[in-house]
């Protein structure tokens, strides 16, 4: 244990080395790949456990010029430990689950190599003691996400989704770069301890600018409005990937980031207000969209966006330990839900809710796990989601009542879409074309483990808060009662309104269509960002580069050649013509000489 305690960066190096080993023997490892890769997250988990009582920190020099040094540092602090545990557990579960789910896939070893790389990058992100290392991890998880969403590269929709995910998050990353530059310029360092130590002394404008830039980075990564549009498309990736990257860990990195640099947000109220606003909009908006989805994974994707909105709202009112608590419980129940959905897809061969139905009889274990997840998601006591969501709503309500009310509504909607999806998938008459079957134990075991977490983690709230150096909020009975009753009403309405046909209630057809398409944000982005950018690029190429700049250069060349042609006319090749020219020249020169001498 002491090695793991002294060298927390092993949580990065081990999975990284495993990724290299796996990639080097892509044709060789075969089914052994999963068990090799599993060592990575287990190392991360072990490092997390070893560092619980206080971890080790250190730095490596990366670039040094004169007195200026950029260091890569690691710091296994309390927040890092929490994240390492989450990543370790979820990644281990996903890797075991994938043994069954990805069995027989062509890129089996490549899949595990990428998962290992992701584990390493995620560990680097959470271990980072400075913004450079953090950004390295931040971008690498994005790249792994790109490669894993596009795992089935031959499928055009998967390739497009992968590209979209990388591009949209990169907009946030560019903003984050700007934030880093602001901080570097203001404090002369990027080491978090130093930067955050100086946060209180920053000019308010500088602090606000830096915080907003960092927030935008988090908004991109955590799929908050308006940069949320990539996450639903990201469901093109294998379902276990969605569970790991697009539910539990990478998308939560934005929340982690803001919690990690909290002293900066402490002095930037405008950035906090923005986080609250965006979080609330996202929580409510995404929940309505989830209600209208037909694809089981899309329901969960929009649900993830919505739940991340809850976390951002909590961050916006300063309750970052609460946000982290919700992050932890959400990681458990959303990973559980995604893996259950994966089990459903594996067993039934479809991910369209309209083609499922009655699966509870065929897949009882999966159904039980799913229901555990759904109960937690909907916030029904005593599941974990109830406790964390209650704390989020309570803290937001306390600081910004309007947002609290919106979150109440979002909670009700959450219960509604959860109930709707549950009924459509597991109850009623079977509508599937193929007979469904229960999944193998390698898929059920991780589900069971996560189900325990999804149900039981609620009681980890107090120890978690203590670990993060805060006191847990006492449960507020009126708020909890309101939330639970709203959730029950929502669940009831969602259950009742669930109809398997593709067409919704005709009275709300237009509304449903609008919600189904994510209220048109995607179309808006396509119309006002993507297409103009493409057109601009074409125009710059055709008008600017070929016509104007190159045209000018070629024009000069053509003109030179024309003038040369004119001059060439003089050189007729006739000796007497040359002699005449020469004689004229001599006369002119002589005359000039005489005139000058005189």
């Amino acid at each position: 244990m002491s090695v793991l305690h002294e060298m927390p960066y092993l949580a990065v190096l081990v999975p990284l080395a495993l990724a290299v080993v796996l990639a080097a023997g892509v044709r060789f490892w075969g089914n052994a790949a999963a068990w090799i890769a599993l060592l990575g997250p287990l190392t991360g988990l072990a490092v997390g456990i070893a560092s619980i009582g206080g971890g080790t920190a250190g730095t490596f020099t990366w670039i040094r010029v004169g007195q200026t040094v950029l260091r890569l540092g690691y710091d296994a602090n309390a927040l890092t430990v929490v994240m390492l545990l989450v990543v370790g557990v979820v990644a281990s579960c996903v890797m075991v689950f994938s043994i069954g789910y990805m069995h027989g896939e062509k890129g089996y070893v490549r899949y595990y190599a990428l998962l290992s790389l992701f584990t390493a990058a995620m560990a680097a992100l959470v271990l980072a003691a400075d913004l450079v290392s953090l950004f390295v991890g931040w971008e690498l998880v994005g790249a792994c996400s790109f490669l894993l969403i596009g795992f089935w590269y031959a499928k055009p929709s998967a390739a497009e989704a992968a590209r979209k995910a990388f591009m949209v998050t990169r907009i946030g990353d560019a903003a984050m770069l700007l934030g880093m530059a602001v901080l570097w310029n203001a404090t002369g360092t990027l080491e978090l301890s130093a930067v955050l130590g100086k946060a209180a002394t920053l000019a308010p404008g500088v602090a606000t600018a830096a915080a907003i830039c960092v927030l935008l980075g988090a908004v991109g990564k955590s799929a908050q409005f308006p940069l949320h549009i990539w996450l639903p498309d990201a469901m093109e990736g294998p379902t276990p990937v969605s569970a790991l990257i697009h539910a539990a860990t990478m998308v939560a990195a934005g929340v982690f980031l803001i919690a990690r640099v909290w002293p900066l947000f402490e002095v930037a109220p405008a950035a906090r207000g923005l986080a609250l606003t965006l979080g609330t909009i996202t929580a409510l908006g995404a929940a309505t969209v989830a209600l209208a989805q037909r694809d089981i994974k899309k329901v969960l994707a929009w649900s993830t966006i919505s739940q991340l909105g809850f976390m951002f709202a909590a961050l916006g009112v300063g309750a970052w330990p609460v946000a982290i608590f919700h992050l932890v419980t959400h990681a458990a129940f959303k990973a559980l839900l995604f893996l259950s959905a994966g089990s459903v897809i594996h067993g039934s061969g479809t991910q369209d809710l309209a083609e499922m139905g009655g699966l509870a009889k065929k897949m009882p274990l999966t159904a039980a796990c799913w229901i555990a997840g759904v109960v937690s998601l909907a916030g029904i006591p005593p599941a974990a989601g109830f406790f964390s969501k209650d704390e989020v709503v309570a803290s937001v309500l306390h600081a910004a009542p309007w947002a609290g009310v919106a979150l109440f509504a979002a909670s009700a909607l959450t219960a509604a879409y959860a109930a709707r999806a549950t009924r459509l998938a597991f109850f009623g008459e079977p509508r599937g074309a193929k007979p469904a079957h229960e999944s193998p134990w390698t898929m059920i075991a991780p589900l069971a483990l996560l189900a325990v977490g999804a149900l039981g983690l609620g009681f980890a709230g107090a120890p978690l808060a203590a670990l993060l150096g805060h006191e847990a909020e006492p449960l507020s009975v009126p708020i909890a009662a309101t939330a639970v009753s709203l959730a029950l009403v929502g669940a009831f309405l969602g259950w009742r309104s669930a109809r398997p046909e593709a067409s919704a209630d005709p009275r709300f057809a237009a509304l449903t269509r609008a919600a189904y398409s994510g209220w048109g944000v995607d179309a808006f982005a396509d119309r006002f960002v993507v297409r103009p950018a493409t057109a601009l690029a074409r125009m710059a190429d055709a008008m600017g580069d070929r016509l104007a700049i190159d045209g000018l250069a070629e024009g000069v060349a053509t003109m030179a050649s024309r003038v040369g042609g004119l001059l060439a006319e003089i050189q007729s090749g006739d000796g007497q013509w040359y002699a005449a020219l020469m004689a004229t020249g001599v006369v002119v020169l002589a005359a000039a000489a005489v005139w000058l001498v005189r």
């Binding site: 020099t61 990366w62 670039i63 040094r64 010029v65 004169g66 200026t68 950029l70 450079v132 950004f135 390295v136 931040w138 971008e139 690498l140 790249a143 790109f146 490669l147 596009g150 590269y153 031959a154 499928k155 055009p156 998967a158 390739a159 497009e160 992968a162 590209r163 990388f166 591009m167 990169r170 907009i171 990353d173 560019a174 903003a175 770069l177 700007l178 880093m180 530059a181 602001v182 570097w184 310029n185 990027l190 950018a533 493409t534 601009l536 690029a537 074409r538 710059a540 190429d541 055709a542 600017g544 580069d545 700049i549 190159d550 250069a553 070629e554 060349a557």
Partner: protein, 481 residues
């Protein structure tokens, strides 16, 4: 003597290869490879020697009669990384042209001759020698494009030649002005005080004219896409990998030290041009339909970072300029190598016709995805350290103008991912079924570059450390130290 050998090995090798040109092609290319490898080994030994020496410089040539000799050579932290890069890419270029069947003797001789000339540009410590080497670079490049290029090679070769020659004519005037007014021809003796203050601005802009075309700084870039598209693979590798670096090298070696006030005054102009290059190169790359043109325009965007870093002028930024140059040398060389290998198989570079190559050519496509990710500046790979530092330091000097650079960062993602999407991803095309994947020689060219890209990303100090004293001295001159 050591430095003289460095220039003479490839030159002698070129002669040797030329002579063996009548033998079987296999003999010729093995001879060329052996020469390039010897040169690389020699360079590495020299690099370690110089880098561990204090101060990290080495002089050579015919120094006994220093006042009259023009064969004066010198290596310092500014030249060393570029010389190593040149020797490395020399080997890669030889491997890349392994399958050249048209007059292989002449081809390899020109490649080695080009390598000798470029090495001499970075080695020269005498103005005349520098200028001679600078122009000598054009000749083998001209013949490589004109002789072994694609359909439009004549026009491209001519355009490349005239464009760069016009620039270097102005540069020559600048160099002559320096030589005649100061009487000092040793480059290492050229310092800020030596030039008449009234001449400095004029000399600065004359020199910049030559270097700006080479870098290339937008709007003097249009020769580059055309030269790249038409050039043979080895030519593109050398062109993007080291020839463009001559421009950055020139700016750092001559323009800044000779006229630091002019450089300081011109910094906003350069920063603007650099930022324009970053955004404009990326935007135009986004619209390309030819893979090689896309990579060529990405070069313009990356070299924009070099210009921006030089304009920023802090020690860290100048080191970053070198980091970006070396990183771009590795990344663009790898990309051009891959594009060349692909063209040998498909005889097309049209994005619309390619696709699904991850299924058809898994090894090739994996390396291509890797190289494209390196090109978009993914952390952990070569492009990131230099571009990050340029960004950080640039913000101190140019403030919120860096938003435009951030936009360029996004656009770099856009064109790189577009290349991946159009070439590697997507359904397998029957048109390309049955293409053979990379063989050992091709892997031997690509894999070392890929590994070095990782090394540079993880351990940038290997370059920035060597550059450190030069960067500090230059930065102090331009008043940003």
């Amino acid at each position: 003597m050591t430095l003289t050998l460095l220039a003479l090995i490839p030159l002698g090798g070129a002669a040797l290869v030329w002579v063996t040109g009548r033998f079987r092609p296999a003999t010729v290319r093995v001879a060329a490879l052996v020469v390039a490898l010897i040169q690389l080994a020699f360079t590495c030994v020299l690099a370690v020697t110089v880098a561990t020496h204090t101060p990290a410089t080495m002089t050579g040539g015919l120094t006994s009669a220093a006042s009259t000799s023009f064969w004066l050579l010198r290596v310092d932290g500014l030249a060393l990384p570029l010389i190593v890069l040149t020797s490395l890419l020399g080997v890669i270029a030889v491997l890349a042209s392994w399958r050249v069947e048209l007059r292989p003797g002449a081809h390899f001789a020109l490649l080695l001759g080009l390598q000798a000339a470029v090495t001499l540009v970075f080695l020269a410590d005498h103005l005349v020698l520098f200028y001679a080497a600078w122009e000598a670079v054009l000749i083998p490049m001209f013949f490589l494009i004109g002789g072994w290029g694609h359909e439009g090679r004549r026009h491209a070769a001519m355009k490349f030649f005239i464009y760069t020659f016009a620039g270097s004519a102005l540069m020559l005037i600048g160099l002559l002005l320096v030589g005649f007014t100061t009487g000092e021809l040793r480059i290492s003796a050229l310092s800020s005080g030596i030039l008449d203050p009234t001449l400095r601005t004029l000399v600065f802009w004359l020199l910049v004219a030559g270097f700006a075309v080479k870098v290339p700084i937008v709007p003097f870039h249009t020769w580059l896409p055309e030269a790249h598209v038409e050039a043979p693979t080895a030519g593109s590798i050398m062109l993007a990998g080291v020839l463009l670096k001559m421009g950055g090298y020139g700016l750092l070696r001559f323009a800044l030290p000779l006229a630091p006030e002019a450089a300081h005054a011109a910094a906003p102009v350069f920063a603007t041009l650099g930022i324009i290059g970053i955004v404009y190169g990326a935007v135009v790359a986004l619209a390309q339909t030819d893979l090689k043109r896309l990579v060529a325009y990405s070069s313009i965007a990356h070299m924009g970072f070099v210009v921006l870093a030089i304009a920023t002028g802090s020690p860290l930024a100048l080191a970053a300029a070198m980091l970006v140059m070396v990183a771009h040398g590795l990344t663009s060389a790898l990309l051009f190598l891959l594009v060349g290998q692909l063209y040998e198989r498909t005889h097309t570079r049209s994005l619309a016709r390619l696709g699904g190559l991850l299924a058809t050519l898994p090894v090739w496509a994996t390396i291509f995805v890797f190289a494209s990710l390196a090109s978009l500046g993914l952390p952990g790979l070569a492009g990131f350290p230099g571009e990050l530092v340029t960004f950080l330091e640039g913000f101190a000097s140019w403030g919120w103008w860096m938003v435009a650079v951030a936009l360029g960062v996004v656009l770099a993602g856009a064109y790189s991912l577009r290349a991946i999407r159009e070439v590697a991803q997507g359904p397998e095309k029957p048109e390309w079924a049955g293409l053979r994947d990379l063989d050992l020689i091709e892997l031997a060219a690509a894999v070392p570059l890929a590994l070095l890209i990782v090394v540079m990303g993880v351990w940038p100090s290997v370059v920035s450390g060597v550059m450190d004293p030069v960067a500090r001295a230059l930065s102090a001159l331009v008043g940003r130290g």
